[in-house]
Symmetry: C2
Subunit: 335 residues, 2 copies
């Protein structure tokens, strides 16, 4: 059975979504005149502050759009569903975010995004905007640790962007913002599990097929193959499988601190996420690891895909201070 | 195909969810010792303040649990999935919320909830806690306007609780809190559309069946029958059908103000909600009605049901001031 959707003509869906977004959040974001796919924070960019530009395909809301605002990202380039934005709206974001202190591009490591953001960086350079790029690669299931640069960026984006957005908001230098961006990415570990597919608005066809009693551990947020297709098991067993995998890389030891994100891929409800969160906390407590803060909900989705991801952020004093820094975005507020 | 769920033994699901909730939000909520189904705001109750107790069945998260916190509800009684809590945890909530100025019980108008909350009110009276009850009846599809007291409470709960929580937080008298509770309910109008069912954790069976190309306008949040089963139409057509129905009751005229809530019933993604929100704003603009504030997202869900609801709150100066009052809850923050 195809997914039923509340949509109009699918070829207008992103423009219609964006109209709904800016009408809902006029105090937080606006579209660049003449470049509607470039969404800018109303109170973000200011003189001498490093600009933070994020972006990528649509369909992962509130990623990326929802994280534009004071204390987080200054601008966001909006692609079609599961497709990178082209260079032009990215360049417009760079211009809108630039206040003479440099602009950081941060986005998940996907080939299309890398190509378009790199092209945009070259175009911005011709306008005398210095751009540096830090890719997010938090998905531990997407490549081995010794090939971390091949990993994809997924829900951990939320932690990484939040930390870098705080550094920019605190008026750190370009070098320091870039340094802490790489550090935040290196300290962030995500793994997901998919139970059922989503379908794209243009086709209404599932983006993958999976058996009635199966799950796929490590599947990507566009349906990229994971590490194991297995019979569906209990929430605790699934959580343990994910946590065991993350623990092989997490640098945090007894007495150390982490932040936790339990994220729905779309249709998995809060009830199930909180059951998983309980197990995440149990496992961390067993190891004597302290949870500094926890987020549970829809942070990086794949339309109505069923499943969840768990992200751990290994904290030190610097990352903790930045994570705790207030932000005020269209779809997220903290501090 | 039954819904796949990330759960353990379904008979423990509420206790496990609650453990995950209090571990995630220890700064906001706690369970009453010996009464784990009674969840209380850490910084809510205080001397001389009217207590606000909400509650109902689980499966609608973040309703009700997520709206416990300073500036909103003081306590929440937690039932099983789609089932009222029994009197005992409600009484414990009343005790925890009571600081000598009276306790308001507010919850959706469902027979089981009315029975249990009324019994709890009698039991609380024996402990010298004065309880008054205001039922929410915002679902315009659930009974005709001249039988408003028969209507059910749905997503509009969010607006109503928020306003009353603000009045309590501002230390208004018991009479005034009760008055504004009834007024907020009378000014709140919700109507929903369901596209596909959810399934209960205990059975994994759909709570209703619906054709591959059908929708049901006005279906309740437990699958109660709506007002029309029709072929699925475009987002704009569906939004218009809902808005036209709400406009027949909305007292707001040209130049007047409303607040808007576009709510997912569970698996309908933000992209679709924002497309609908765009149309809601268009329709209001056509009538010269001003949107004071907009919320879009998962506020009152039915597990992973697909569909959405639209709520309009007709604002005057008093309701606007209360709606804008800050609150800081486990799963929601404003102001």
């Amino acid at each position: 059975m195809p997914t039923k959707k509340l949509i109009n003509d699918p070829k207008n869906i992103i423009e219609e979504m964006l109209e709904g977004v800016v009408r809902a959040h006029p105090g937080h974001i606006r579209q660049v005149p003449g470049s509607p796919r470039s969404v800018v924070a109303v109170n973000g960019p200011r003189q001498g502050k490093v600009g933070l530009v994020i972006g990528g395909g649509s369909g992962h809301e509130p990623t990326f759009l929802g994280f534009v605002g004071k204390g987080l990202a200054d601008a966001c380039a909006v692609g079609n569903v599961f497709a990178s934005p082209p260079p032009d709206p990215i360049v417009e974001c760079a211009k809108a975010a630039s206040r003479g202190a440099g602009v950081l591009f941060m986005y998940g490591n996907y080939a299309g995004d890398v190509m378009n953001f790199d092209m945009a960086a070259e175009m911005a350079a011709m306008d005398d905007i210095e751009v540096r790029t830090v890719l997010t690669t938090d998905d531990v299931a997407s490549a081995p640790l010794d090939q971390k640069s091949k990993r994809r960026g997924v829900a951990g984006n939320f932690f990484i962007f939040k930390i870098v957005g705080a550094a920019c908001d605190k008026m750190w230098s370009f070098d320091e913002c870039e340094r802490v961006a790489r550090k935040a990415n290196d300290h962030t570990f995500t793994m997901g599990v998919a139970l059922s597919p989503c379908s794209l608005p243009h086709t209404l066809k599932h983006n993958f097929e999976i058996g009635e009693n199966e799950m796929e551990i490590g599947m990507g947020i566009h349906g990229e193959p994971g590490v194991a297709r297995e019979p569906l098991r209990s929430a605790d067993a699934v959580t343990d499988e994910i946590m065991d995998r993350i623990f092989t890389e997490l640098p945090t030891r007894e007495g150390g601190k982490v932040a936790v994100l339990v994220n729905s891929l779309g249709s998995t409800p809060l009830m199930e996420l909180y059951v998983m969160n309980r197990r995440v906390h149990q496992r961390l407590a067993e190891k004597g690891i302290v949870v500094h803060a926890t987020w549970v909900g829809n942070y990086c989705t794949s339309l109505e895909m069923a499943g969840a991801s768990i992200t751990l952020l290994a904290l030190d004093e610097e990352l903790t201070e930045l994570l705790d820094h207030p932000c005020d975005c269209a779809m997220f507020r903290a501090g």
